[in-house]
Amino acid sequence: MSIVEVRNLTKTYDNIHAVQDVSFSLEEGKIYGLLGRNGAGKTTIMHIITAQLFQSSGDLLVFGQRPYENEAVLSQVCFIKESQKYPDVFKIRDVLESASNLFPNWDNEYALSLVEDFRLPMNRWMKKLSRGMLSAVGVIIGLASRAPLTFFDEPYLGLDAATRTLFYDRLREDYSEHPRTIVLSTHLIDEVSPLLEHVLLIDGGKLVLNEDADTLRGMAYTVSGAAKEVAAFTEGKDVLERQSMGGLSAVTVLSPNGAMERREAAELGLELSAVPLQQLMVRLTDPQYMNKAVIS
């Protein structure tokens, strides 16, 4: 069942298209990756879905209703963003207590266990927190709120690798016990990619990819070998990147029939290698790669 329906969403600021004609839906109980470079429009889209910004045109339904000033929708949504402001005179304790009063599914025991896991000083003023601690507070609110629709927008700025792993582990555990729809917006794709079930890629305000993560994994591959043979094999295919050195060349191909084509390439004696999700995203958002219409 889809719980978010976005139709032809457009957001324009002073003639700049921050979001352009974006349509997609989110299904219940999946973990989504909302990927793209900084400034691609990811945060704007999430702001609009949570009714914190207004679209210029287009329509959207969240849990089947328009979210603006809609208690039935907003009480089920949690949006953790990197730029979240907290009252100056609040301590971590005040922020978490406030959140516990505002999210109907809040689990306070869980929140307190997370505070220990992330080693947060409950009585420290919010304005005295390091970037990493500020991120950890957001992560705790996002997890403990147990909102049926939760957005994390770059939730780990300033967190070290060990703490990020802690976040991924807690997220996965809690999601297993309390399945819900989670959207992870990030540019650290490799770290989160094993957690993602579905990927939405935004570039320049447009949706350029909307695909099952496992399907995507099989779609892109790099063939290398003698330049002539590689050229013959990739003829007519959707090429993302071409590199050559002397008589050898390596070409990255994106194809919905990835699995079959790989076998063909192997039979031709061409060398095959995988393209990690992160690299695939980088290539898809490369301005030189113009042939975006192929994938839908």
Partner: protein, 228 residues
């Protein structure tokens, strides 16, 4: 617990903006006047409008509280309407408490320790002594609320329309003031106005109520379209 209640609790946690700072300012004004009255001991005693400082600070509270808590509440998925309602309840509650304390100090100054023993009129100003307790409660309470919502409306204006909005609004206010002042001067209206005010100042307090309601309506309308 409804989320309006949650918003009230956010405000109640923000004790610095709502309680500590206003009272610190009021009490420092009182201390200075008390010292002057006690040490310099002027013959006519000290009559001061220092109590006004807490009313003026309530306007600052109106400005700061929006800045401090609105982006937080919106970020916690609170409806703008619920933020508005919660803020209203918090303003009623805290201003009622402030009023009660002001009245207590008024009575102490008037009856228990007359003029604090040093001929200081700080809380029980002469022109207020003709009112009964209920009327005094109404006057203090409505004025505090009025000041709070004046600040709150300014803050909403700033959030909704940005610097341009502030510029246009205050520019317009200044222009309107200048024109009114021109006509009053031209028609010798100043004297009439002041004469009328001196006689009917008690009405003025009650007239703050419709003004407060106007600020509230405007704040609400602006807030409905405010974004992060």
């Amino acid at each position: 617990m409804t989320r309006v209640h949650g918003v009230v609790k956010i405000h109640l946690k923000d004790k610095w903006t709502w309680i500590y700072i206003p009272w610190m300012i009021l009490l420092s004004s009182f201390s200075i006047n008390f010292l002057i009255a006690a040490l310099a001991a002027p013959e006519a005693g000290v009559k001061t409008g220092g109590v006004l400082s807490i009313f003026i600070y309530m306007m600052v509270t109106g400005i700061i509280t929006m800045y401090n808590t609105f982006p937080f509440a919106l970020g916690m998925s609170v409806r703008r309407t619920d933020y508005f309602k919660g803020t209203f309840l918090a303003a009623l509650l805290i201003n009622a408490l402030t009023t009660v304390v002001l009245l207590a100090l008024f009575l102490i100054e008037e009856k228990v320790i007359p003029e604090w023993g040093v001929s200081l009129q700080f809380f029980s100003l002469a022109f207020l002594r003709s009112f009964n307790l209920l009327e005094l409660f109404g006057i203090f309470f409505l004025l505090l609320l009025n000041m709070f919502y004046a600040g709150f409306a300014i803050s909403c204006l700033q959030r909704r329309f940005g610097r341009t909005g502030m510029f246009v609004f205050f520019g317009g206010l200044l222009a309107a003031g200048s024109i009114a002042s021109y006509f009053l001067t031209a028609n010798n209206g100043w004297m009439t106005l002041f004469g009328w005010l001196a006689e009917h100042y008690d009405l003025l307090f009650w007239w703050s109520l419709p003004l407060t309601l106007l600020y509230m309506v405007l704040s609400y309308l602006m807030m409905r379209r405010t974004t992060v």
